[in-house]
């Protein structure tokens, strides 16, 4: 016993040194990214907190105005409308591509030949730059020469206030669903085939197998994708900005495009910073809920 204790005492300093050395090496590898993050994320974030409390125009000095930008944002009908559009965007973006991705992945998982080819075809819209996709779709949705016009439907999808937001969302869904299909397919391929065999022996049909084996099998991926979708919803900008610039008359305006306009067109960068921080706070709440649920084991059930 004594010898063992002595032996342990002798080994301890060496092990501690090794742990310290390992930690130092770890930090050394982490340092460049950490410094970069401090510079490009934390620094501007702190600056944004400050600027959100000022009347900064985006150029020159800023005057401290307290919480005026936040109180203005709470009462601003343009912000209310933009937030509502973000919610609509989330509902559509969180359901349509997800459903299409799941269906596409499941169908692909049943295919034995040309699966790689189909996977590549699904993936193409995601690979093409959003600027290119948006510019092409802007032409395809033209009421006088687009796809609809060729079939006798001259509706102005982007020019009608009741369809502009949904129309841009359809394009984004088209761009996104193939990516989800490939992600889901990878997750589905990691499910033990014996589970399907067992379900089959128990008399489960395809739909029942999908509900009872496939969906639970890809649960962590699903939750991760939903989280990504929420974040992407709050970040929605590029397609809207290129295709409608938030118009007509704000009918497709979301918070990010409104923020851009305030910062760069109306010289209200302080107000834009307040809007950005408000969105960040909403994102933080969603992530906090996600973390809480993860700790509760929701993801692994």
């Amino acid at each position: 016993m004594t010898a063992a204790v002595v032996g342990a005492g002798v080994r301890a300093p060496g092990a501690a040194r090794a742990r310290r050395r390992s930690a130092v090496i770890g930090w050394a590898f982490l340092a460049p990214l950490l410094v970069l993050n401090l510079l490009v994320v934390l620094g501007p974030s702190i600056a944004t907190v400050y600027y959100s409390l000022t009347d900064w125009s985006g150029l020159g000095p800023a005057k401290f105005i307290g919480l005026a930008n936040y109180t203005k944002a709470f009462a601003d009908p343009d912000v209310h409308q933009a937030v509502l559009h973000n919610v609509i965007w989330f509902v559509l973006f969180g359901s349509v591509p997800l459903a299409m991705g799941l269906l596409g992945a499941y169908l692909l998982s049943q295919v034995r030949r040309f699966q790689v080819l189909f996977r590549a075809i699904y993936f193409i819209p995601y690979v093409v730059a959003s600027v290119v996709n948006a510019a092409v779709w802007k032409m395809l949705l033209s009421p006088t020469s687009g796809i609809g016009h060729q079939f006798g439907i001259d509706h102005s999808w982007l020019g009608d206030t009741s369809t502009s937001l949904v129309s841009v969302n359809v394009v984004v869904d088209w761009h996104w669903w193939g990516f989800l299909a490939v992600i889901f397919l990878a997750a589905m391929q990691s499910i033990d085939p014996q589970l399907y065999d067992a379900a089959s022996v128990d008399g489960a049909n395809r739909w029942q197998q999908f509900l009872s084996v496939t969906l639970p099998g890809i649960r962590p991926t699903m939750i991760f994708v939903i989280l990504m979708t929420v974040i992407w919803t709050l970040k929605a900008f590029d397609y809207i900005f290129i295709m409608t610039q938030g118009g007509p008359a704000g009918s497709s305006e979301v918070v990010s495009t409104l923020m851009y306009k305030q910062a760069f067109n109306e010289y209200s960068a302080g107000y834009a910073a307040a809007l950005g921080l408000s969105m960040t706070a909403i994102t933080a709440v969603i992530l906090a809920v996600y973390q809480y649920l993860r700790r509760k084991g929701w993801e692994d059930e």
Partner: protein, 466 residues
């Protein structure tokens, strides 16, 4: 363990995304510092420009940059090209970070004034005195860029609005160029009845296109006298003469004369409208002078048609308004970055660009509208080898300035936030979310507030200008 760290990273990314976009300039400012060095007058001068297309960039490289460097071998002009809207955002961010180009290609006068008020632009008054710029450039344009007796930029291009028309279509239909509202509306009704869109217009590729329309209707319906009074604060934008102009725009849209209707104005890309203009499916396009450098692509062999285009002055939309009348404005500016380490060399370039009158006129003759800097010249000074349509722009504007028959474009004489509301608010009117009177009321509120802040350029006095 992977998921939580990924979640945190995502959180940080999400939290910092907008922050980075908005606040980076602030951080960079802190890292930078003021530098009042004028430099040695030699070395590299950075210039960021928004000239688009290989041919146009080639022209600038060969006929501007190369010629300047040949005349000034000790200065290296380093030009970088960006897309129009990207350029303004990039320059604005760079100026705040006290970096960016030495020669600043700024936006319209009111926006550039905002940059000047933020001390991002160098005072050009000493250079103006040294090089005698006030004698070389038109006084009205120079005054627009002068505040508190300090010159903060030089006017880049004289802007006006014109009515482009398909000359071949007009000839085949026996249509005459309208000069007043009655003739214009009769023509529009006839064209519309024949399935031709009378006036092509779209804001799909340039959201601010709405202010082109309001510039046209306020100048040619409300009139320059009313505008001058409103911009001087003597009358309000809520005056019926302004409200009626907005209602007239709405009426033209409702009748399907403008763009074929509101929904198409918001959805048909400008390229498609241009193509239809060339084919004769669109009769006229109310557009700025800059469109001269693009309209040719829709006509002739390249566009697979045998049609020709021309332009006419915008008809008077009310009896009390003169015809012809040209609204005057400045499309962009050239300034010097307050943080430039080589201000003298940047000023050398500006002096070469604005100072050589013969070279400037040659550029105006070579490229339609793009290089129309506001310098004083006689009609006889215009090079003989010029497209007669371009020459007519130059002579018409010269005459308008000398007789005082000119108006005011929104992007030069309206303060920045009011200017943004001109086209943002118009969308609300066109989609019937608000009425024309409410639009003018909000416009007046913004204008009054900004005028009080002093973010409005000096208006040219009414009457003959120089």
């Amino acid at each position: 363990m992977t998921a939580p760290s990924l979640g945190r990273r995502r959180f940080l990314t999400g939290a910092g995304l907008s922050a980075a976009a908005i606040a980076a300039p602030g951080i960079l400012t802190a890292c930078g510092g003021s530098d009042d060095s004028a430099g040695s007058g030699n070395g590299k001068v950075d210039l960021w420009l928004d000239i688009q297309g290989d041919a146009n960039q080639k022209y600038f490289n060969e006929q501007v940059a190369a010629l300047f460097e040949k005349a000034n071998p000790s200065v290296d002009l380093n030009t970088t090209y960006y897309k129009g809207d990207d350029l303004r955002r990039l320059v604005q961010t760079a100026l705040q970070a006290r970096s960016g180009p030495d020669v600043v290609r700024g936006p319209a006068a009111t926006q550039t004034l905002a940059w000047s008020k933020a001390h991002a632009l160098a005072d050009l008054t000493p250079y103006a005195d040294k090089y005698g710029w006030k004698d070389k450039l038109s006084g009205w344009a120079m005054k627009a860029f002068t505040t508190d007796d300090k010159l903060y930029a030089l006017p880049m291009r004289v802007d006006t609005m014109m009515l482009y028309f398909n000359k071949t279509l007009f000839a085949s239909k026996g249509w005459k160029q309208p000069e007043n509202r009655a003739d214009l509306e009769a023509l529009a009704a006839e064209a519309h009845g024949q399935g031709i869109i009378p006036f092509g217009s779209s804001n799909v590729d340039w959201k601010a296109a709405g202010e082109w329309l309001m510039t046209v209707f306020w100048n040619h319906y409300s009139g320059p006298d009313a505008l001058h009074q409103a911009l001087s604060g003597e009358i309000k934008f809520t005056d019926p003469v302004f409200v009626e102009a907005v209602e007239l725009v709405q009426t033209y849209f409702d009748k399907g004369w403008l763009a074929g209707g509101v929904d198409k104005y918001f959805a048909v890309p400008s390229q498609e409208i241009g193509a239809n203009f060339g084919k004769g499916k669109v009769a006229m396009i109310p557009q700025g002078v800059w469109f001269m450098s693009q309209v040719g692509q829709y006509f002739g062999a390249k566009a697979k048609n045998a049609n020709e285009w021309d332009w006419m002055p915008i008809p008077a939309l009310r009896d009390e308004v003169k015809y012809p009348l040209y609204e005057l404005g400045i499309g962009g500016s050239f300034g010097i970055n307050a943080a430039s380490k080589n201000k003298d060399a940047a000023a050398t370039f500006l002096n070469w660009y604005y100072g050589d009158r013969a070279a400037a006129l040659q550029r105006m003759a070579d490229v339609p509208a793009t290089y129309n800097i506001p310098i004083d010249f006689a009609d006889t000074d215009i090079p003989k080898k010029i497209d007669p349509r371009s020459a007519r722009v130059l002579t018409s504007l010269n005459k308008a300035v000398s007789t005082g028959d000119y108006g005011y474009v929104t992007w030069t004489w309206w303060p920045p936030k009011t200017d943004v509301y001109v086209y943002e608010g118009l969308e609300q009117v066109l989609t019937k979310k608000i009425k024309a009177a409410d639009y003018c009321k909000e416009l007046d509120r913004l204008f009054t507030s900004e005028k009080a802040d002093g973010t409005i350029p000096a208006l040219p006095a009414q009457g003959p200008a120089k």
